[in-house]
C-alpha cells in the first residue's frame, strides 16, 4: 500500500493505482471524458488534469494515467488546475459545440465564449470506441486514422468492416453518442428485442426482464452475451460494485415436493398475422393490443407517448374488436376482455392525442362492475362506435384523402353502408389463446382441456378452480379468458383450495380404484399415457406400472386399454360383466 495526500487528505491505495482512483476513493470528484471504468487509462481528453506538488515546484498531469506514488501531494481544485481544465474544455467546445457532455462541462466551468476557431464535430476523439473494440472485444474494427486536423475514427480504409461483429459496444461507451454502427459494420444490425416490450425496443445482453420482475435482478442472455459467445468483453464485471456478476452460474432444475399445485400459466395472444387481410406484420402501424399497451405505457419504448412507427402523432386510430375470437375460422369463443381494453385504448388515445378514434365491434360486452358506466363515459368522449366487423385493412388509396393512410374497410351494419376509414394506426384486439405449450403441461399434470384448448375445471359451477386431478388447482386465464378481477378472485380461491388440502393433511379416497397386477404387467406403459389423472407411474426397478391409489379416480381407462389384462378395476371385473350377459341371455 502506498499513501498520498490529495487536497490535504491522506489516502492509502494499492500499488499500481492511478491518482484518479485515489481521488475517487476519497470521494473527490474529478471531471472525466475519455475515461471509462472498464477500459485502460488513456489520457486523451485532458479534462481530468490535477496539480502535483514537488519540492522543486508543481506540475500539471492527467490524473487518469498518472500512477499514485508514496508521499505524492495532489491538488485537484487549485487555481492553476481549474484554469488549465477550463482551457481544455474550451478547446473541446470549439471542436464539438453540440456534444452533450462537453456542453455540460462547459456549463459547469462557466465557459460562455470560445476563443478558438470553431468547428462542428460530433466526435470528441476520446477513443473509447477504439479501446472497447480492441481491449474488450479483441477485434479492433475501428481505429484513429489520419493526424492533426484530419484525425478521425473510422474502420480500415473507411469501408464497412468485415470483422466488426456488430455487438454495439462502441455505441454503448461513446460519451458523445456519435457512433453510427451501420457505417461501421458489414453485418445487418439486429437489436435484441425486449420481450416485455413486445419487441418494440431493444435490450442489452445483461438486463432485468422487466421492472416488476421477481426476483428483480439482472440476467445474462447467454445467446447474445459476447463473453458466452466469444469469450471476450466481461465489461459488466468491472461495473458491478457488488461484484455480483458470476459467469459460471448455470440454469438448474430444482425438484420440489409439494402437496398441491396451482396452475396459473396464463394465455398467449393470437397471432394476428394468421389473418392476412388485417395486414398485421405486413403493414406498418397495424399493431396488436399488447403492443399498444406497451406504447401507451409510461415505462414503454415511447415513454407513454402514442406515436406511429415514423414518430408522428396519429390523426385517426381504428380499434378492431374480435380479431381471431368469435370467429368460426379461428376461435369460436369470446375472449371476454377485449371489449373493455378496447374501450380503455380508445380512452387513452383520446386523452393523449387529438386523434379521432373508431371502435369497430360486433357486440359491445360491458358485463362487469362499473364496465357499462365506463362504456358510457367513452361514448361521451366522442369515440366513434361502428357496429360491424372489419373486412380488410389496406394501404391502397382510392382518393387523395386516403393517400399515405391505412384504410379500414367495414360494413356499418347500423347504417347499412360500407365504410372506408382512413386512419394512421390500427389496433387489433386479438384473441386470448391457450399457451403454445399448454398441451405439454396438460400431459405432465394430467389436465383435461375444454373446447378451445383452455384447461378444464372439475365442474363449471361447483368446482370452478379445481382441476380434474386432486390437488391441482387452476387460476387465471389458463382456464379460460378472463380479466384481472376475475383472475385475482380465482387465484385467491385456488390458494384457499390448496391451503385447505395441505392444512387437513389427509385426503378421502374413492373406494373403486384400479390396480395393476405386478405378476402380470409386462411394463408396456401404455396405461401411463392413457391415465387422465397422471395416477400411474413406471417402477423402473420392478419394470411394471404402478397405480397411485391416492390419485386414481377409478375411471377404468387403464383397465380397458391394458393390452395384457394386467390392470383391474376393483369390483368391476370382466367376469362380472360376462356373468351379467349370461344372466340376461339365460
Amino acid at each position: 500500500m502506498i499513501s498520498l495526500t490529495i487536497d490535504g487528505n491522506v489516502v492509502e491505495v494499492e500499488e499500481g493505482s492511478t491518482v484518479l482512483q485515489a481521488a475517487q476513493k476519497l470521494g473527490i470528484e474529478i471531471p472525466t471524458l475519455c475515461h471509462h471504468k472498464s477500459l485502460l487509462p488513456y489520457g486523451a481528453c485532458r479534462v481530468c488534469l490535477v496539480e502535483l506538488e514537488y519540492s522543486w515546484g508543481t506540475q500539471i498531469q492527467a490524473s487518469c494515467t498518472y500512477p499514485a506514488q508514496d508521499g505524492l501531494v495532489v491538488n485537484t481544485a487549485s487555481e492553476r488546475v481549474l484554469k488549465t481544465r477550463k482551457i481544455m474544455v474550451e478547446l473541446l467546445l470549439a471542436r464539438c459545440p453540440e456534444v452533450a457532455p462537453v456542453k455540460q462541462l462547459a456549463e459547469q466551468m462557466d465557459i460562455k465564449e470560445v476563443r478558438f476557431p470553431k468547428k462542428n464535430e460530433d466526435c470528441i476523439l476520446c477513443g473509447q470506441c477504439v479501446r472497447v473494440c480492441e481491449e474488450r472485444m479483441g477485434i479492433g474494427a475501428v481505429n484513429f486514422v489520419n493526424r492533426g486536423r484530419e484525425k478521425k475514427i473510422a474502420p480500415a480504409y473507411d469501408r464497412h468492416s468485415p470483422i466488426c461483429m456488430a455487438c454495439g459496444a462502441c455505441q454503448v461507451v461513446c460519451p458523445a453518442d456519435c457512433v453510427d454502427l451501420s457505417k461501421i459494420t458489414k453485418r445487418t444490425l439486429r437489436p435484441i428485442p425486449l420481450a416485455f416490450d413486445e419487441g418494440l425496443s431493444g435490450r442489452p445482453s445483461i438486463y432485468v426482464p422487466f421492472a416488476q420482475a421477481v426476483p428483480n435482478v439482472p440476467v445474462i442472455d447467454t445467446n447474445t452475451c459476447m463473453y458466452f459467445q466469444k469469450g471476450t468483453c466481461q465489461a459488466c464485471q468491472e461495473f458491478c460494485e457488488a461484484d455480483a456478476i458470476d459467469f459460471d452460474q448455470e440454469d438448474k432444475v430444482e425438484e420440489v415436493e409439494v402437496g398441491a399445485i396451482i396452475v396459473a400459466t396464463g394465455f398467449e395472444l393470437f397471432d394476428s398475422s394468421e389473418i392476412f387481410r388485417y395486414g398485421y406484420g405486413r403493414l406498418d402501424n397495424v399493431i396488436n393490443s399488447l403492443e399498444f399497451e406497451r406504447i401507451s405505457h409510461a415505462s414503454g419504448p415511447t415513454g407513454g407517448k402514442i406515436f406511429t412507427k415514423d414518430g408522428r402523432e396519429p390523426q385517426a386510430v381504428a380499434i378492431l374488436h374480435c380479431i381471431g375470437s368469435r370467429d368460426e375460422n379461428y376461435h369460436e369463443y369470446c375472449s371476454r376482455v377485449c371489449c373493455m381494453y378496447s374501450l380503455k385504448f380508445a380512452h387513452l388515445v383520446k386523452e393523449k392525442t387529438e386523434a379521432e378514434v373508431y371502435n369497430l365491434y360486433i357486440d359491445m360486452r360491458a358485463f362487469g362492475k362499473g364496465y357499462e358506466e365506463f362504456y358510457k363515459r367513452v361514448l361521451g368522449e366522442g369515440v366513434h362506435f361502428i357496429r360491424g366487423k372489419c373486412a380488410e385493412v389496406t394501404d391502397v388509396p382510392e382518393t387523395d384523402e386516403e393517400k399515405g393512410k391505412l384504410i379500414v374497410i367495414a360494413e356499418d351494419t347500423l347504417l347499412g353502408l360500407t365504410r372506408r376509414l382512413p386512419v394512421d394506426m390500427v389496433i387489433l384486439s386479438s384473441a386470448l389463446i391457450p399457451g403454445s405449450d399448454s398441451d405439454k403441461l396438460s400431459k405432465i399434470l394430467g389436465l383435461n382441456c375444454s373446447k378451445g384448448g383452455f384447461y378444464l375445471e372439475k365442474h363449471p359451477k361447483l368446482a370452478p378452480v379445481d382441476a380434474i386431478s386432486d390437488g391441482i388447482f387452476l387460476a387465471g386465464a389458463c382456464q379460460g379468458p378472463k380479466d384481472i378481477p376475475d383472475s385475482v378472485a380465482q387465484g385467491a380461491a385456488a390458494a384457499a383450495g390448496a391451503l385447505s388440502l395441505i392444512d387437513k393433511g389427509k385426503v378421502i379416497l374413492e373406494p373403486i380404484t384400479a390396480e395393476i397386477n405386478e405378476e402380470r404387467c409386462s411394463g408396456c406403459q401404455l396405461c401411463i399415457a392413457n391415465c387422465p389423472y397422471a395416477a400411474i407411474d413406471y417402477d423402473e426397478e420392478k419394470r411394471v406400472s404402478v397405480v397411485t391409489e391416492e390419485l386414481c379416480k377409478g375411471c377404468g381407462t387403464c383397465v380397458a386399454g391394458c393390452p395384457s389384462g394386467a390392470a383391474h378395476q376393483k369390483n368391476f371385473e370382466d367376469e362380472q360383466i360376462f356373468s351379467e350377459i349370461e344372466g340376461i341371455l339365460a
Binding site: 400431459k443 397386477n517 405378476e519 402380470r520 404387467c521 409386462s522 411394463g523 408396456c524 406403459q525 401404455l526 401411463i528 399415457a529 392413457n530 419394470r543 381407462t557 380397458a560 386399454g561 391394458c562 393390452p563 395384457s564 389384462g565 394386467a566 383391474h568 370382466d574
Partner: protein, 326 residues
C-alpha cells in the same frame, strides 16, 4: 419299467410344428431314450385301427398340433382323448386356431368357390368339387366332411395343456416334456409359457415413449422399421403388448413386429380386442379427419389383430348369413 408312450398328431396345420420336434436336434435322442413314440404320422405309419386297439391310458401324452376343420380330424382327436392320459395342444393352431383359423373370416362356400372355380390358376371345366362320397372304378371313396368353422383343439376335446407358438420354440417343448416325464405339472389348463406379455422381455421396450401416440399405421411391406425402436412408437402394429412372452423374441430380433402367435395373456379374454382398445386409446384421433387417417392406415384389422387367434377369440368368426352357411 416300460418307457412311457407318446403320440404326435397333426390336424389342420402346415407341418411346422413337426419341424419343431425335429428342431430339438440332438435332444430328440434324449426324448427317444426316455419315451416310446407310439404315433407320429409324419414319420411312422400307424393306422386308425392300430390306435383304436390301444387301451385307455396306454399312451401317456399326445401332442396334437393344428386346428380342427375336418370330420376326420375330429374323429382322431376324440379317439386320442379317449386313449391318452394327457392331451397337449401343440402350437398356435391347436391352441388358438392359428393361421388356418383365418378361414373363419370367410365361409366354407367362398373357400370352395375360390379353391375350385375362381382362382386364376384353376382349370376345372367340369366344375368338379370334392364330394364326401364318390364312386371311382367301382370303388366307394369317402372324403372327410369339411366343417363350416375352424375350431381350436379345446373346442372339440378337453385339453390338459397348451404349448403356444408358431411353432413352439424348442426350449419350451423340452421344458414341457421334462415336466411331464418328471410329473412336475402345473394346474390343468395351463399354457406352458410365461404369464407376462411380450413387452416384458422385448429389448425395445425401453425406447417406448411416455406419451406414445400413433398418427397412422405403417406396414413392414412398404417401409423398414428402425432396428432399435419400439415398433408401436414408430407406428407399426405390434401385438407384443397383448401377447404372451416366451417366444424368444424371434420376430423382434428379425426386425418384425410381434404377430401374436403366442396368444393372449392369462387375464385377457381376447388378445385382438385388448390390443385394439390399447392402441385405439393411443391413436391420434382428435379430429374426424385424423381418426379417418388412422383408421384407413390400418390395413386388414381382422387379419392383423386376429392373425392367429380368430377361432379362440370372442368373435370366433366373421358374422355371415347363417342360411348361406348352413
Amino acid at each position: 419299467m416300460a418307457k412311457p408312450k407318446v403320440a404326435f398328431y397333426w390336424c389342420a396345420s402346415c407341418g411346422g410344428c413337426e419341424e419343431t420336434v425335429v428342431d430339438l436336434a440332438e435332444d430328440i435322442l434324449k426324448v427317444v431314450a426316455a419315451v416310446d413314440i407310439a404315433l407320429w404320422p409324419v414319420a411312422i405309419d400307424i393306422k386308425l385301427k392300430d390306435v383304436q386297439a390301444w387301451k385307455p391310458g396306454d399312451v401317456a401324452v399326445a401332442f396334437i398340433n393344428g386346428a380342427v376343420r375336418l370330420s376326420e380330424q375330429e374323429e382322431w382327436v376324440k379317439l386320442l382323448r379317449e386313449k391318452c392320459s394327457l392331451i397337449v395342444a401343440f402350437g398356435s393352431c391347436a391352441h388358438i386356431g392359428g393361421i388356418p383359423g383365418l378361414a373363419n373370416a370367410t365361409t366354407k362356400e367362398q373357400i370352395f368357390a375360390n379353391k375350385y372355380h375362381l382362382s386364376p390358376t384353376i382349370n376345372n371345366p367340369n366344375g368338379t368339387v370334392p364330394q364326401e362320397h364318390s364312386k371311382v372304378d367301382n370303388y366307394d371313396l369317402e372324403l372327410p366332411f369339411f366343417w363350416k368353422d375352424v375350431k381350436t383343439l379345446d373346442q372339440v376335446i378337453d385339453v390338459d395343456y397348451y404349448l403356444p407358438g408358431c411353432p413352439p420354440p424348442p426350449n419350451l417343448v423340452a421344458e414341457a416334456v421334462n415336466a411331464i416325464l418328471e410329473g412336475k405339472l402345473p394346474p390343468k389348463g395351463s399354457v406352458l409359457a410365461p404369464e407376462k406379455a411380450l413387452c416384458e422381455s422385448c429389448p425395445r421396450n425401453e425406447t417406448k415413449p411416455d406419451d406414445l401416440t400413433i398418427a397412422s399405421f405403417k406396414r413392414v411391406s412398404t417401409s423398414t422399421p428402425d432396428p432399435e425402436k419400439c415398433f408401436l412408437a414408430e407406428g407399426y402394429l405390434c401385438m407384443g403388448p397383448a401377447t404372451r412372452s416366451g417366444c424368444g423374441e424371434r420376430c423382434i430380433n428379425g426386425n418384425m413386429p410381434c404377430r401374436g402367435c403366442f396368444g393372449p395373456t392369462p387375464d385377457a379374454l381376447d388378445a385382438g380386442l385388448k390390443l385394439l382398445s390399447a392402441i385405439a386409446s393411443r391413436g391420434k384421433a382428435d379430429t374426424t379427419e385424423s381418426s379417418q387417417v388412422l383408421a384407413d392406415s390400418l390395413a386388414d384389422p381382422l387379419g392383423t389383430l386376429y392373425r392367429f387367434s380368430l377361432p379362440a377369440s370372442l368373435l370366433r368368426r366373421r358374422l355371415v348369413d347363417l342360411h348361406e352357411n348352413s
